[in-house]
Symmetry: C2
Subunit: 261 residues, 2 copies
Amino acid sequence: MDAVRDEAAGKRARGLDRAFEILDFLRQKRQALKPNEIAAQIGAPRSSVYELVNLLLSNGILEFTGGEGRVYLGRKLYFLGAAYENHFDFTRECEATLEQLADETRETAQFCMLDGNRYTVVRMREGARPFRISTDVGQSVPIPWTASGRLLVAHLSNEEILNFIPPQDFRLPGGEWLEPQTFIAEVRQAEREGLFTFNSIVDSFTHCFAVPVRGEEGHAAATLCLVTPRDDGIANRDRYLDCLKKAATGLEHAPSRPKRG
Amino acid sequence: MDAVRDEAAGKRARGLDRAFEILDFLRQKRQALKPNEIAAQIGAPRSSVYELVNLLLSNGILEFTGGEGRVYLGRKLYFLGAAYENHFDFTRECEATLEQLADETRETAQFCMLDGNRYTVVRMREGARPFRISTDVGQSVPIPWTASGRLLVAHLSNEEILNFIPPQDFRLPGGEWLEPQTFIAEVRQAEREGLFTFNSIVDSFTHCFAVPVRGEEGHAAATLCLVTPRDDGIANRDRYLDCLKKAATGLEHAPSRPKRG
DNA sequence: CATCTACGTCCAATATATCGTACATGTGAT
DNA sequence: ATCACATGTACGATATATTGGACGTAGATG
């Protein structure tokens, strides 16, 4: 995950960082794992992982589940996440907006944000004829693989973008190399036009539409997307973009705004 | 919070524990705070808190919000919490059950769980005539203050219960002292009857009904509650308990059950 | 039976995280 | 002007957390 972090090698990792590395790893895997497996797969010393896992267990951050000593994210995290959601109260409006988008277009609608230096689908509403979407809700995906990615980093300078995105994330799922300069050009284009659309990089049969949901600072705090069969997308391009833009405008008066205080 | 932890005094606190103490504290306060305020209010060294807050900020666990350098729970926690919720997929059923309960009774219905060694309302549906409920969603409350509390610890032995509940939590909000032996007796009664009801300890005008939602291990993983005006509650006691029990039975086939694997 | 891997625990060495303290700044009260 | 307080930063000492490696077990494989 954070291979970048091990700069100089030979250094000890801080417990806190390792702990959150473990949590993030479990989130990615979306299943309970044994401490031993975790250690092996994130490349951390076994003894450290056992120590940390036990600490996290006793705090309710992790829980035993799935038997055989496997652990997964714990209830405490749910409570903390709920407090965040309650504070930045975007869920209700978001859900309604996706609903409406799906109604208007019959296509799959998504609400997406950055998760650190990667991209993630926060909420999704499947369209009328659901097909296998390549990226599930909650999975982190390299920013350059997605249409939304072009919008979510548009507030950064070229140099900041290159520092922000892990270099290996420019390697596309098919194995091809996306030239960072090409990506940057697309970012700037998306910024000018206030939207980005392309034939999905991740699969070979969908077209993706993304528009920004701007936060208080004026830059894209999130995106709204449609994922459509290529024919449909190209045929309905203008109407779909209209729907997206209206929806995004509607959301911009709600998200990331503290409820009180 | 964990005054108990500082057993021998003079010891250093572990970073991980302090970190989660900070997170829990922010959750309780439900607002952004300056690192300095956090340090003062949880009684931790300022330098440690600054160090930890910066670490958590750089991990996305905390976020700047509210200006003046104030911090609050961050987006990463939301993602982790969503992963938990997704794994133990109880939300949908839970929401529907509360809806139905509120419809049938016109009273306030709650879904409650333990949060470590305290009690918390996870979800709530307000009744027909909403009144000021004393405990908000997400707040942690001493176990002995609540009807649900009697059920949530019923799987523990008497001794385990006394070790589990912080002693100071037997001091009721009015200042009176609830004798632990009295509490234990009520726990055993609740266990036998599979329910607990009483006039709220927290306020002077509501009656509370609680029934267990049993998990796979057979003990109360959560509770369903009704909070009613005292007259209503006493008048409709049997009907309300019927509704609650049916609802709980309905939930028991869903909660805390991993979706897959 | 011998060997290998997966799993968990224990332990000592040392790199370092925690914490007390001092310093710097701004603000408001006296 | 002087004091008190809140806020953030810097730094060294030392208690300790992280880590590699040893150890024990169990199951699978040859």
